[in-house]
């Protein structure tokens, strides 16, 4: 290839050795490369335009979401992505030096799977049975109380305890204010009772007969009510 004379002279002045080397192109391209390139570029551009159109869809549906999409919210440390390949490679090298993994043979692995499945089924049956049993018992207890309206199920167990023992137990329990405060369920008190307002208490008491209340007062005070 013939050189521009000014550039040729400049190069000769700088280095006759380099100037003496031909500047002919020694690289080659595949046949037809330059004939096909414009069509390839145009086809890539069309593909990119289709992709871009898909990206614009959100803009038509919701301009707010479209405006938020490219707004940076999360940040990464400086040079995070530049250093990521190196740090992953370093970790891979570290892991390679770790203790070798011993694989269980296929036979033992199958055995373990079967044991695990059996334990799972047993557990499900036991849990189900316990659940059903408790539910049944609960029904019986609830039914006893609500149907009979008394504490028969508790009373049924009491005859087995001698009266003297019960009396001793009750007399041994102190009912001082300290004992009450120590043993009371403060959460229950707060939520179950003190949280009630006057209207709620009135509403609860309206279904209780006057006679019942009078008897309750007599029991508490030991005096017949007026």
């Amino acid at each position: 290839m013939k050189r521009n004379s000014a550039i040729e002279n400049e190069l000769t002045d700088l280095s006759p050795v380099v100037s003496g080397i031909s500047n002919a192109n020694i690289f080659r391209t595949p046949p037809g490369f330059f004939e096909e390139l414009p069509a390839k570029v145009m086809s890539r551009l069309k593909a990119e335009e289709i992709e871009a159109a898909a990206g614009e869809e959100i803009g038509q549906i919701s301009p707010l979401l479209a405006s938020l999409r490219d707004r940076p919210t999360l940040a990464v440390p400086v040079d995070y992505f530049n250093n990521l390949p190196q740090s992953i490679t370093a970790q891979l090298h570290d892991n390679a030096a770790e203790v070798p993994v011993i694989h269980l043979n296929r036979k033992n692995r199958g055995l373990w799977t079967r044991y695990a499945a059996a334990a799972l089924v047993t557990g499900l049956i036991a849990t189900g049975s316990l659940f059903l049993f408790n539910k049944q018992q609960g029904k019986e207890m609830d039914g006893g109380m609500s149907d009979k309206g008394d504490m028969a199920f508790i009373s049924a167990g009491l005859p087995a305890i001698p009266d003297l023992d019960l009396a001793n137990y009750l007399s041994s329990v102190s009912e001082s204010s300290e004992w009450v405060s120590e043993n009371s369920d403060s959460e229950f008190d707060d939520t179950g009772f003190f949280a009630m307002d006057d209207a709620a208490i009135k509403s609860m008491l309206k279904d209780i007969g006057y006679d019942v209340l009078q008897n309750y007062e007599e029991e508490l005070t030991g005096n017949p009510s007026l």
Binding site: L14, V18, I21, S22, N23, I26, P30, L37, V41, M42
Partner: protein, 183 residues
């Protein structure tokens, strides 16, 4: 006989009309593809890499052409895009090379992988010498030696003063001479 294309100003005007936009851009590709290809190829060496980089360059040019100011030269701007894209590609290659712990200069190994590489031929020795240069000097040497680009134009492509470019070219030639005489 070389195909004659319209001047850059006419091509840009056609590009701005939707009906002739694609045809104008196809003509721009045809007009500049070879110059840009060889500029890229001398930097990245392998054809497949040069092809990828060149296509990316044209995609970027398509996207940026609407905002291109007519007071700047299209040719200069396209060279700048091609240079930056090639440098980005070389940067990526360098990172990959540092991960793979390949000790040989990437450009040198790429040259040696070329089908018709022959180290005894002076033209290939020149290519090996060019690959020893720092990136900036390599670009300056290629633009001056192969593309015969005036310093004033090169200054706009590389955004560097003409004086600095002359000095860079001078150093590059001396290093190449030294390599050829001693290898």
């Amino acid at each position: 006989m070389a195909t004659q294309y319209a001047d850059d100003i006419s091509l840009l005007q056609e590009f701005r009309v939707p009906a002739t936009r694609e045809k104008a851009f196809t003509d721009i590709i045809k007009k500049y593809q070879e110059k840009l290809y060889w500029h890229i190829r001398r930097l990245v060496i392998q054809h497949e890499d040069a092809n990828d980089v060149l296509q990316n360059v044209f995609i970027k040019i398509w996207k940026g052409l609407d905002n291109f100011r007519e007071d700047a030269q299209l040719y200069t701007w396209m060279y700048r895009v091609a240079t930056n894209e090639s440098l980005s590609y070389l940067e990526q290659q360098k990172r990959k090379q540092s991960v793979s712990l390949d000790s040989e200069n990437s450009g040198v190994s790429q040259l040696k992988a070329e089908k018709n590489f022959d180290a005894s031929k002076i033209e290939w020795k020149l290519q090996l010498a060019i690959q020893q240069l720092p990136e900036k000097q390599r670009i300056v040497f290629n633009l001056r030696y192969y593309d015969e680009m005036p310093y004033e134009q090169m200054s706009r492509v590389l955004n560097t003063s003409e004086g600095a470019l002359k000095a860079s070219y001078h150093h590059a030639v001396k290093k190449i001479e030294d390599f050829i005489l001693n290898h």
